[in-house]
Amino acid sequence: MARHRVAVIGANGFIGNRIVEMLHLGGDHEVCPIVRRASGLALASRFALDGRVADARDEQATAMALQGCDIVVHALSGDRATILGTLDPVYRAAEKAGCRRLIYLSTAVVHGQAPDAGTDETSPLSRKQAVDYNVSKVMAERRLSVLRKRGKVELVVLRPGIVYGPRSQWIGGLADDMLAGMAYLVDGGSGMFNGIYVDNLVDAITRCLDGADTDGQTFLLGEEATPSWHEVYHRLALAMGRDIADIPQLSFEERRPTLKDRLDALRLSPAVKSVTRSMPRRLQDGLGAFWAAASGSKSAPPSGPRPTLEMALLHRSPHVPSWEKARRVLGYSPPVAPDEAWRRTIAWLAFAGYPVVGAQDA
């Protein structure tokens, strides 16, 4: 495998940070973390790395930051404006900087939270989805496809399932919710958890660094095991000495969403919670006041768990998409098995100060 210099845009996010860690510690490639503000380099600066600061919406600044890199991994998340507002600048900046390939982290939920049986990369995508994040990612993939047709930079699009592991909002956020009494399962959580441990995703990314046959390709990514959501919650509850039976089982009735429903769905979505968590506390407080004002309530968001459409669809999903193409073309086979992935995830929870059974103090 050739040695690459890999720029990671969004290096301060959960996945971006892990890409930086693994590529640097693995030693096979050089890695260049790129963040919007210098403060975002706090984690990357544990290593002696060439970190750079550029707003991915700024083509010129991003082109400067990409100098010397041949691969760009776009690992930014956020709302629709962020998702769509960074595509053209990053693609064009990569062209200007002479990068060979852009690897874009999309998501399996472009097929919806509850995909049909047999869903794979050939399944049509729809913009008529109730969850805005899904629609934004569909639009992003389409825009990138246009950019690739017109441009020189090769493109690989990855659609991982729910990425979990240390620093994942799906883990830390769920742990927070369990501690705060806000966790819930819809209809018992019997749906399939389409998870992928973050290290397995990074393994797939490294398989996309080379190979002309992957240019213009899209790959769904997942794992062999597809536990139920109930099993996932049970693992986490057990680790923190909680009883899964104490987590409320709620029902969810699909209806035409009100403005308040839409705002709540946005506020409670893991993607937005992940971005909110990365904000200063004052901004988090301000946002809380905004949610309350915008949704018409006189105080903070309502107490007690309220299921969202997104979580209801996930918790009920009877199928997961197929990732056989990644196995066939990339040779992807998840290197970290589920038990080991959960062992590492729970070790991180203890490290981060969550009350994990048997962990040493703090």
């Binding site: 904000m279 200063p280 703090a362």
Partner: protein
């Protein structure tokens, strides 16, 4: 003496967010004579807010303005040289934390202050939080009995609006989260509980500066675990356990602590009602007022250089004896995380 003229070295985020509002609120009794920063535009923007204030790009030019008191709010690597220059020009100094990058530098700063008979105060602003005084009184009163244990978990994702990424280098900042938030935590604990003895120190630096750190300490017979983070938001909590009860303080709550009494006595939230709504800049203001009062001969709470040296020594020793934090998820399969 009475302090009437003040100059500031360093026009970054600390000055912008904290000192400017404090000085603007006191402009009727203090004369702000100058701002120093290598970035003259930044210094100029701040100086423009104070009539007659100059913007300069060298420390010599700042000291030529003959300030009574110089506030050193520059990057930590510059603290020692700038403080010593100011003291030698007969100015008093309020130096932001961390006092210096090394114990040798910090000791030299303290010695020059003594030799020049000038005040060198260190910006340990948390001692001016109302809750800090409450804890001090609770412990000092002796009602809680002997200290049993100390547990601290402080941190969250890093958002401080730093100018550039050089902040995350040992050369500029002396280290990572320990040299930053750790100074405040260790100072408060030593102020309340007396000197600490380092038992172990671990962090997650791997060629750079740490985002996570863990110290185990001893305060007399009691053990302590201090966990610091720039990584993940968890409740910021100082938990002091005594023979008869415990005291808990959350870092974001500057005016109140919670007292847990053993037995059936329950828990009490103790609030300084006069300080409701107090902000971090308010406490910076209290600190500045205390220094000015002290220099006017009035009784005031200040942290002299000599009071800050033990924490500098503790941090220096911690870095010298550091071990790697255990992070079993970190390395890719088959790769050791710590070189």
């Amino acid at each position: 003496m009475s302090v009437t003229t003040i100059a500031i070295s360093g026009c970054g985020a600390v000055t912008h967010h904290y000192y400017l509002p404090v000085l603007e609120a006191r402009r009727d009794r203090l004369n702000i004579v100058g701002f120093h920063d290598p970035d003259t535009a930044r210094a100029g923007a701040m100086a423009a807010r104070f009539s007659g204030s100059a913007a300069v790009d060298t420390m010599d030019a700042l000291l030529a303005l003959k300030p009574d008191l110089v506030i050193i709010a520059s990057p930590p690597a510059a603290h020692a040289d700038q403080t010593i220059s100011a003291l030698r020009q007969s100015a008093h100094v309020l130096c932001e934390k961390p006092m210096a990058l090394t114990l040798a530098d910090a000791t030299a700063m303290a010695e020059v202050a003594d030799a020049q008979d000038r005040l060198l105060a260190i910006g340990m602003v948390r001692r001016h939080f109302p809750c800090s005084r409450i804890v001090e009184r609770l412990i000092g009163g002796g009602w809680l009995g002997a200290l049993r244990s100390v547990s601290v978990f402080e941190g969250g994702a890093f958002h401080w609006p730093i100018g550039d990424q050089r902040y995350f280098t040992r050369e500029v900042s002396g280290g990572g989260v320990l040299a930053d938030v750790g100074v405040h935590v260790l100072d408060l604990l030593s102020h309340w509980l007396g000197p600490a003895e380092l038992v172990t120190y671990e962090d997650d630096a791997m060629g750079g500066v740490e985002a996570n750190a863990r110290l185990t300490l001893r305060y007399g017979e009691a053990g302590g675990v201090i966990r610091l983070s720039r990584d993940w938001d968890r409740p910021n909590l100082i938990d002091l356990r005594f023979a008869q009860g415990s005291v808990q303080w959350r870092a974001e709550d500057m005016a109140a602590v919670t007292l847990f009494l053993d037995g059936d006595a329950g828990q009490l939230r103790i609030t300084d009602e006069t300080a409701n709504g107090i902000t971090f800049p308010d406490c910076i203001g209290l600190q500045l007022d205390a220094i000015i009062d002290h220099l006017a001969g009035k009784p005031a709470r200040i942290v002299r250089a000599a009071n800050a040296l033990p924490v500098v020594a503790l941090i220096e020793r911690a870095y010298r004896e550091r071990g790697p934090m255990e992070m079993p998820w970190l390395a890719p399969v088959g790769v050791a995380a710590h070189g």
